[in-house]
């Protein structure tokens, strides 16, 4: 792709878009191959050893396993593009209908976590850079280093121990099961611990990159120039330093959001929160292949789209990178 260099920013966007589509196409091949075309009999894997020949044959017909592999893939991918994701084997209803409310639940959770964690981590990172090597910087750097390493389900259960069961019992609910038919925002107290876990899982990365980027900007000539002009420190930091420091952070923010899509798998399970993450865990345990396929494609597509957005946003906010296009 590096050799197709022309067209400026629109050209770059088009090239990245095409590349994203190619990656998605290959992802769909991988998902299909892994779940349906592998040697062995998916129908037997789903039904287990107790399956009768009749039920095996019926399931094979249902999954289109009696057709040639290419035909199976084309049926699956065209259904996918038309919004028809097949029928869930466990729930016996269309996958789209099954996943729609769960998708809303997960989206709310991720959105709330993103809205809280991104400004928070940008603020922490910037403040640590302004007060470099001072108490706040040392404390926050070490704390973030520790939090970045700990797996998110360990963070989640630690929060449960602290605020729901053992240390301060029943301050917050330890289980966040959203009753069917209601929306997550009807149960705000349910959202607190899962959101806090996601924020703790993501904030360290964004804050650390923000700190590094801000330190680099603060040492630059144009910030010194702004100071020498006699501008108030506040203006220098907010008008000159902050916008320039945000450039490299976009990439990490997008990656963090994409990560949240994967991180919710375990976190939703911890809190029994009915989203796509716990749906994936359930469908894996039930061998519900249509649901596994749909969720794998969904999460991968989200990941590719966010990466694309990050690359474009970085180009838009960093003019000097455009000369390399």
């Amino acid at each position: 792709m590096k050799r197709l260099t022309s067209g400026g920013v629109p050209g770059f966007v088009i090239r990245r878009l095409l590349l994203g589509l190619i990656v998605l196409l290959m992802v769909s091949l991988v998902v299909f191959a892994a779940t349906q075309a592998l040697p062995g009999d998916p129908a037997r894997a789903i039904l287990g050893r107790s399956a009768t020949p009749q039920s095996l044959a019926a399931l094979r017909r249902h999954l289109h396993l009696d057709q040639p592999v290419i035909q199976q893939y084309l049926t699956w991918i065209s259904g996918l593009l038309h919004g028809n994701l097949g029928i869930s084997l466990a729930a016996q209803e269309p996958v789209t209908k099954l996943l729609a409310p769960k998708l809303v639940n997960s989206a709310v959770l991720v959105a709330v976590a993103a809205v809280i964690s991104i400004p928070l981590s940008v603020a922490i990172g910037s403040w640590a850079a302004f007060r470099r090597e001072k108490v706040f910087d040392t404390l926050s750097s070490n704390l973030l280093l520790v939090l970045a390493a700990v797996p998110e389900f360990v963070v989640a259960i630690t929060l449960v121990i602290l605020f729901a069961t053992t240390v301060f019992p029943r301050v917050l609910p330890s289980i966040s099961t959203i009753p069917p038919g209601s929306r997550p925002w009807d149960h705000l107290s349910f959202l607190i611990l899962p959101t806090a876990t996601l924020v703790i899982a993501v904030a360290p990365y964004v804050a650390r990159i923000m700190r590094a980027s801000m330190i680099e900007v603060l040492e630059s000539d144009y910030v010194e120039m702004a100071r020498l002009k006699g501008l108030p420190e506040r203006t220098v930091l907010i008008r000159h330093a902050l916008p320039n420091a945000l450039g490299p952070v976009f990439q990490v923010i997008a990656l963090s959001l994409a990560y949240l899509a994967g991180g919710i798998i375990v976190i939703e399970f911890v809190f029994n929160y009915g989203g796509i993450g716990s749906a994936l865990q359930e469908s894996v345990l039930n061998h519900d292949l249509p649901v596994v396929q749909a969720l794998a494609m969904l999460i991968a597509a989200l990941y590719v789209a966010l990466n694309l957005l990050a690359d474009v946003a970085t180009i838009v906010v960093t003019p000097r990178l455009r000369t390399r296009l």
């Binding site: 590096k2 190619i22 990656v23 290959m26 992802v27 998902v31 892994a34 779940t35 998916p42 894997a45 280093l145 520790v146 970045a148 390493a149 700990v150 797996p151 998110e152 389900f153 360990v154 963070v155 259960i157 630690t158 449960v160 121990i161 069961t165 053992t166 330890s174 899982a201 993501v202 990365y205 990159i209 590094a212 980027s213 450039g247 490299p248 990439q251 990656l255 963090s256 994409a258 990560y259 899509a261 991180g263 798998i265 375990v266 399970f269 994936l280 865990q281 469908s283 894996v284 596994v292 794998a296 999460i299 991968a300 990941y303 590719v304 690359d311 970085t314 180009i315 960093t318 990178l321």
Partner: protein
């Protein structure tokens, strides 16, 4: 913890700002120098202690891992120092048995992923042609799956066998390591001693692994400890999700899940493995950060000369 997407500074495609430059010091001296930092020392002590615990734990455990010793969910005291779990098994004994599995699986998976990934990254960087593009695009495809999701899909299709989990973790570790290896090797490939070796007719594999590899070991060691941290997290999470090869085997992740419901009554069954996993990942994280800081420090000193 960001395990799934592999958020490393160097995965920031076009923003090269956070890339770790390759320090050209011998790896042994880099390790020794990084031990001058307190964080590396603390990390080594924590990880060493837990590895030791996992190795000798089964020999000093007062009971077998699945021996019932009393009523379920008994609080500490009497025969069971840390109480009993939901089946009346001794929490301390299960805890002492439970580390081996995670450590061994995480180590094998990470090592396999790193070896494959580094080889691919070095080959891609050295090729500088269509092969580079093809290899890295394939890596992008694997990167589109969060680590835990790919492991879940693999377990869904094949079953929760140990080798499936090792393979899934290795497969998702490889592209992340490949990116770092390629990024670190690209500037080295341009240097004169590589051209010199080529002119002398040194075989390609010897250039790759005898000359490129030693000159990229700094960032690779940082990456290795980072990957180990994430692998421990994902493997513990998988057994927490109920997808370990043997459901009643003593395993820190499984223990947390089994004893989560009884937290208000008998917290120790979940608290001990939580502390262990948290300390283990913090330890590997500290080691990685120590090496990274040392490498960056050496680099800064060199550019100041």
């Amino acid at each position: 913890m960001i395990a799934g997407s592999g958020i490393t500074p160097s995965s920031a495609g076009i923003t090269a700002a956070a890339d770790v430059p390759a320090p050209t010091v011998r790896p042994t001296s880099l390790l020794r120098r990084s031990l001058r930092l307190w964080r590396t020392r603390i990390g080594v002590i924590i990880v060493g202690g837990l590895v030791l615990l996992a190795i000798i734990g089964p020999y000093i455990a007062p009971y077998g891992p699945s021996t019932p010793v009393g009523v379920p969910n008994a609080t500490p005291g009497g025969k069971a120092v840390l109480g009993t779990d939901y089946l009346g098994q001794d929490v301390l004994s299960r805890f002492l048995y439970g580390g081996r599995n995670i450590l061994v699986t995480a180590f094998i998976a990470t090592a396999a992923g790193l070896i494959v990934g580094v080889a691919i990254g070095l080959i891609a960087a050295y090729a500088r042609n269509a092969l580079d593009d093809v290899l890295m695009r394939i890596m992008d495809v694997i990167l589109a799956f969060p680590q835990i999701m790919l492991a879940l899909v693999a377990v869904a299709v094949v079953g929760p066998h140990a080798w499936v989990i090792v393979l899934a973790i290795a497969l998702t570790t490889a592209p992340r390591a490949a990116r770092v290896a390629r990024g670190a090797a690209l500037p080295v490939v341009e240097r004169d001693f590589i051209a010199c070796s080529e002119a002398m007719g040194v075989p390609r594999w010897r250039i790759l692994f005898g000359e490129l590899l030693p000159n990229t070991l700094g960032p690779l060691m940082v990456e290795a400890s980072l990957r180990m941290t994430y692998s421990i997290g994902v493997i513990a999470a998988l057994s927490y999700l109920g997808l370990s090869p043997n459901p009643n085997s003593p395993n820190w992740g499984t223990m947390i899940q089994e004893n989560q419901i009884v937290l208000p009554v008998q917290p120790w069954g979940a608290v001990m493995p939580i502390i262990a996993i948290a300390l283990l990942t913090i330890g590997t994280g500290l080691i990685g950060d120590g090496i990274a800081r040392t490498a960056a420090g050496i680099d800064r000193a060199r550019s100041a000369e």
